[in-house]
Each structure stands twice: as C-alpha cells, then as structure tokens.
C-alpha cells in the first residue's frame, strides 16, 4: 500500500485541540474535511461514532484508530494527529491515547482501510517509532516516521 499517496502534510496535525473523546473525534473529522473528499461532515462523523459505539478503537500503547465506512467518501481517506498529553479514549490497556489515526472508506466495497490500519499498526509496534512520533514538532516530522 502506498502510504505516501494517502498521507499528505495537510492531513497531519501535531496537536489536537479537543480534550474529550467526542471533541477529539470531531477535530479529526474536521481535519479529514481538509481533503475536500467528504461530501457530508455529519454523515462522516456519524459513521465514526457508530463504530466507536460498537467497540472503542483505543488500542494499546497510546494509539487510537477511530475509523468508519460511509458513502460520504468515494475513496479511502486518512489523517494522523497527536494529543501529546493524552486523553481517555476507553483504550484496551486503560492508558490515555496520544496518537490518533482516523480513516473513512466507502461502504459496501472491499476497503483498503483494513490493509492500511494493519500496516500502520505493524509499524507502530516498534517503541522507537512511537517515541519518534510523540517527539515530532512538525507535520513533516510525523510523516517521516511513516514514509521514511
């Protein structure tokens, strides 16, 4: 999967404004809106929240991967953001989440989002990468961790 193609500097944020799970999700959806590929913000937000309701996407190691499927997009869109002090995202290990990766992919079509998330999670399994990410000051530095 071509991460370079999916990730652009404008889809990366070094510090999220929100301080609750809901606020952070809204921040992330707004960031995705920057791509210009979302037809309806509310629909996008609803699909992410619906997925969170089934089971939180707060993983281990301070990572959260809120994602959803909706026809409000025609292709997979991705954004990455940090919240360095961390927020409660009902994560698997109970730790606050600091690294957020959000994806929305079209409904009813085999989505590459699983492939994308698998690749990201494989990458972030390495502690060194996570540390690099949290130490990043600019969008470029964040992208460097993923694209190299």
């Amino acid at each position: 999967m071509n991460l370079k193609k999916l990730l652009a500097p404008k889809m990366v944020l070094t510090e999220l404004a929100g301080s609750t799970k809901e606020e952070v999700i809204e921040n992330l959806v707004d960031l995705l809106m920057e791509s210009g590929k979302i037809k309806d913000r509310e629909v996008a937000l609803a699909c992410i929240l619906a997925r969170e309701q089934k089971m939180s996407t707060g993983m281990q190691n301070e990572i959260a991967i809120p994602h959803g499927k909706s026809d409000t997009v025609d292709e997979l869109i991705v954004c990455i953001a940090l919240k360095k002090e961390g927020i409660d995202f009902e994560s698997l290990d109970g730790m606050p989440s600091k690294i957020f990766i959000m994806t929305i992919s079209p409904l009813n079509r085999s989505g590459p989002h699983v492939q994308f998330l698998a690749e990201i999670s494989q990458l972030l399994k390495e502690e060194e990468k996570r540390e690099q990410l949290l130490a990043a000051e600019t969008a470029e530095e964040i992208l460097k961790v993923f694209i190299g």
């Binding site: 089934k54 998330l117 698998a118 690749e119 494989q122």
Partner: protein, 585 residues
C-alpha cells in the same frame, strides 16, 4: 449399473438401424461424413471411459486414468474399433496410414486435452513448498531424472537395432520417457495415510516439481534435436547445446516474466468482476503460449505448463482450477483414451522383451536415482525406499512425450506400446509398494526434525460457547474475508478447513468443535486480527437486529395458528385474484 450398461448396449445395437449411408461424394458431404464419424467416435469414447474408469476404480481399486487408457486399447483401431461397420461404410476407428493411427480431428481433441492437463499441472505447482524444501527435494528429483534418463537412453543404445549412440533421437526419447513422474497417485496415497507433511512426503512433493520442470525442459531439448535430426543426418554437439539453451531460455524467460506479470494480469482481469471471464482469458493465454512454444521449435505443452506456472502464485489459481474442472472432466479422459488407442498390439510382439527390460529400468532408475540422494540427505534405507517408491508412478507427461514421439516419427508404434506398458506397470505397482513401505518406523536418521508445515506461523484462536454458534460465526468470518476480495477455498472434505488467499496473503482457517483457529504468517497477523474484529463487530449489529425482531413466541403462535386453520392469507389473496380475473373475462 447393469441396467445402464444394458441400455447403452441396446442403444449401440439400434443405432445402425437409423443410420443411412453417409459416405457419398461431394466435399461438403465428405466433411459431414467426417464429422458424423467424429461424433460417433466421441460418443463411444465418452461412454467407454466412464465405464472403464468406474470398473477400474470400483472393482480393481486402480486409478481411473488406467481404466481410461485401457478403454482406448479395447475400443481402438487395433482392437474392437478396427471391426468393419457396414452402417458407417468403414471401421469406427480407422487407422489413417500416417504415423498416428487416429484421425486428425480426434487427435485435435487429445492435443487440446494435453494443453488443459499441463496448464492445470502448472497451475497446481506449489512453488513456495518447492522453494522451502528445494534443497533435498531438488537433489532427490535431479538424481531420479539423471539416473532414469541415462538408464533409459543406455538401454535403447544397448538393445535397439539402429540406435548406435546416446544422442540418437530414439534413445533420447526413451531416456526422457522414463524421467517424468506423475505424483498425483503418490499425493493421494500420502494424503490418505496422513504422510503428506512427513519428511518423505514433503521431499517427494518437492522432488516431483523439479521432476516436472526438468522433464519438460528435457522434452523441449529432445523435440528440438528430433526436429533437427529429421531435416538432416547427424547432429553436432554444438547444435544440441544451442537447442538446450534455447529450450531452457524459453522456459526460464517465460516463467520469470509470467510470475512477475501474472499477478498484474489477474489484477487487471479481476476488474471485469467475473471469474468466467478471468478463467476464459487465462485458458486462452495457455492456448496462445502453447502455439507460440510450438512455433519456437519446442512442444506445445511447454507453453501451456509455463502459463499455468505463471498463474500458480496468484490468488485466483484455485478459482481458475475449479472453473476448468468441467472442461477437464470432459477432455482429459478423451486424451487418455486416445493415447490407449494408439497401442498397436501387433507391433509390440517384437519389443515385448525390450518393454519388460525398459519397465524394470524405469523402476530401478527412480528407486536408485532418488534413493541415493535421499540416503545422502539424512534419510535411512527405509526412508530412501519410500521416496523412490513415491516417485514411481508415471502418467500424463509420459503419455504426452510418447504421443509427440509417435506423431513426429521419432519412435515407432512398438516403442509407443513400450511406453504405455511401463506407465501401466509402474502405476499399478507403485501404490501397494508405497503403502507397504510406510509401515514401520521413521525413515529419517536424525531424531528431531522441525515441524515443517506450520513452521513460523501465527495462530489466532477464537473460543465460542456452542458449536452451532461457532459454525455461524465461521461463516460470518468467511463472508467478511470474501468481501475483502479473498478467495475462499474449502480444503477438507470432512473437516471445516479453509484456505483464504489474496495476493501474497495466505490464511488457514480451521474449526475444531467450538474453537476457530486462523493461521497466517507473522507479517499478516495485524491484518487478520483487524478483519476478524470487523466480522465480530458486524455480529453485534446482527444481535441488535435480533433483539428488535418480533418475539419468537409471537412468531411461533402465528405459524401454528394457520397449521390446522383455513387457507393462509397469501392463498386467499391469490384465490380472490383469480376469481376477479375470471369475472373480468
């Protein structure tokens, strides 16, 4: 069964009553006549192969293919097919006078069948297994090929009049003929005896892949040499080198290109979202490359095999195989039958002793040729014998090589008969020998050997409360994988074992009572976990939907209330509608 046989015999007896004299002048009529004969021939072949195949597998406990081959011998031009039939104005299977005793039309069917066979054989090649065990496997396979080739070649030089050197095309053909193993019979026995992943089993399977490839390259060289020999006298060593380089080059370039482009090609074809389309075009390519390789001075089956090999590593290989099963089931028995028809019993009289010697040599060649490298690779005598016995059966490749030899005139009908005789004997003695050889202890000298197949795989286990629920969730998981464009193939007949493939990802899903286990390579673990998670989450939606369903009690009452009551609502409505209709009329 008896009734069916009787019905067929009656049908065959009454056909002449309805047949008119078709053999009269005119080109169009001649063509019609030829096609009528072909249709009659095919009818007899299709019925005969089924009956003989059934008799061989059911009563004689032998592989069907042997029955199909024998069917050809029985109904062929040198036996029953040679009887003059008045209603046809000729024999059903008339010898044509050329080097082949069957009509070009019928031979055409056999050629297409051989392309299908080799295309599928290439498609089934398990390259990763071969590469994983290629060390010992190649050593064993190569040993078998070299020893059998030289023994076959030398025997021809020693015993056949007019064959005076090792490079004589007939000697080369007889050498090549004894090399090709048909591992299908062995694979079936190994899988029945659960020895497929034993050190011997894995070595045999890897050796058989090399055997096929080397055998086919050898054939390419021998066909090339034979073609040169046909046009003019002695063949200098240099020319043989060029032919060999050309054959190997063709094979290597097309295989490498094929494997590199195979995935791109299938990805492109998948856009049509139709497996029929994908299968059709793939088979078309097999035919195209078969023709091209013949044009390049090699044999058609090489192109077909290479096309299959190229697609063998794509995720659609299994699907293509499944889609071609119908074509295979129709054409391939015809191939074996037509090959059987070419056995000229009269021509075999003079070579029967040579045939026996050749058969013995073909068996010794594999036992010794594969056994010695096996002994040198850590197997004991028992293991080495098992491997040798596993490499004994001969099959379609031997037949195709023999057919090519006969068609090109390099070998005569006598030697063709010898090839069939070897095939029959080797394939009949191989199964009992193999089964017996696997009795007793380990065939491996070293005590510990790593578990081979499951090596390095990650297992994801999911435990559920009841078996019924596990069955349901298994089907849900498979649906999610299908939606992700995975090709799902059921592997076990009696146990729920599935292979899920997409590009380079291979996942094995097995259900044992209430536990579902997914095995995959470590680099795909994340992907599998996420996808299974999606499946489980979708179940949550489903459960929510169930909660919203009308209460089961109310639904049960509704169903029961109409069991002994009046007509159902639907029926009433229908009845009312028809009443109205009548009134309107």
């Amino acid at each position: 069964m008896k009734r069916i046989t009787l019905a067929i015999l009656i049908l065959l007896a009454v056909v002449p009553l309805f047949a008119s004299g078709v053999a009269s002048g005119g080109e169009a009529e001649n063509m019609t006549h030829k096609m009528t004969i072909l249709v009659f021939q095919l009818a007899i072949i299709v019925i005969a192969v089924r009956l003989f195949g059934h008799i061989f597998s059911r009563y004689l406990k032998q592989p069907r293919v042997l029955g199909e081959l024998v069917a050809g011998m029985v109904i062929g031009p040198y036996a029953l097919g040679g009887i003059q039939l008045d209603f046809l104005g000729q024999q059903l299977f008339e010898t044509t006078g050329g080097s082949l005793p069957v009509s070009p039309e019928l031979y055409g069917f056999a050629i297409v069948a051989s392309i299908i066979l080799l295309f599928l054989s290439g498609l089934e090649t398990d390259l990763p297994t071969f590469l994983r065990f290629s060390g010992v496997g190649s050593f064993v396979g190569l040993g078998g090929v070299i020893v059998s080739f030289f023994l076959g070649d030398a025997l021809a030089v020693l015993l056949l009049p007019g064959v005076d050197n090792f490079m004589h095309p007939t000697a080369l053909f007889l050498g090549t003929l004894s090399t090709a193993t048909s591992v299908g019979i062995t694979a079936r026995i190994l899988s029945e005896k659960r020895k497929m992943s034993s050190p011997e089993g894995v070595t045999i399977l890897a050796a058989a892949v090399l055997d096929d490839v080397v055998g086919i390259i050898l054939l390419a060289v021998v066909v090339g040499v034979a073609k040169v020999a046909d046009t003019g006298g002695a063949i200098p060593w240099g020319n043989i080198g060029i032919i060999a380089a050309k054959a190997f080059g063709f094979w290597l370039i097309f295989t490498v290109l094929g494997i590199l482009l195979g995935k791109k090609l299938t990805r492109g074809l998948k856009r049509f979202r139709s497996m029929e389309m994908l299968t059709g075009i793939s088979f078309g390519l097999a035919l195209l490359f078969a023709g091209l390789s013949e044009q390049a001075g090699l044999a058609m089956i090489i192109g077909a095999y290479v096309t299959g090999l190229s697609l063998s590593q794509t995720d659609v290989a299994h699907e293509i195989r499944e889609k071609l099963e119908g074509v295979y089931a129709f054409f391939v028995p015809i191939f074996f039958c037509v090959m059987g028809m070419m056995v000229n019993f009269a021509a075999m009289k003079g070579v029967i002793l040579f045939g026996l010697a050749y058969t013995a040599i073909a068996i010794i060649g594999k036992i010794v040729g594969c056994g010695i490298p096996a002994l040198m690779s850590g197997f004991n005598l028992r293991g080495a014998f098992r491997i040798g016995a596993g490499m004994l059966p001969r099959g379609e490749v031997t037949l195709i090589i023999a057919g090519i030899g006969l068609a090109s005139g390099v070998i005569g009908p006598g030697m063709f008969g010898v090839a069939i005789m070897t095939l029959l004997v080797a394939s009949i003695i191989a199964p009992p020998t193999l089964i017996k050889s696997f009795q007793g202890g380990s065939g491996y000298r070293k005590k510990s050997r790593k578990k081979t197949t499951e090596e390095g795989l990650i297992a994801i286990n999911l435990d559920f409360p009841t078996k019924r629920m596990t069955d349901f969730i298994r089907s849900e998981i498979l649906t999610v994988f299908r939606q992700e464009e995975f090709f799902v193939q059921k592997m076990g007949l009696h146990i729920p074992l599935f292979h899920l493939r997409k590009d380079e990802i291979l996942i094995t899903l097995i259900q044992k009572d209430e536990v579902i286990t997914l095995n995959t390579a470590p680099e795909h673990e994340q992907f599998v976990r996420l996808l299974v998670l999606e499946a489980i989450l979708e179940l949550k939606d489903f459960l929510k939907g169930l909660e919203g369903m009308k209460s089961p009690d109310a639904m049960g009452m509704d169903l029961m209330s109409r069991l002994f009551g009046g007509p159902s609502k639907e029926k009433k409505t229908q009845a009312e509608e028809s009443d109205n209709g009548e009134k309107e009329e």
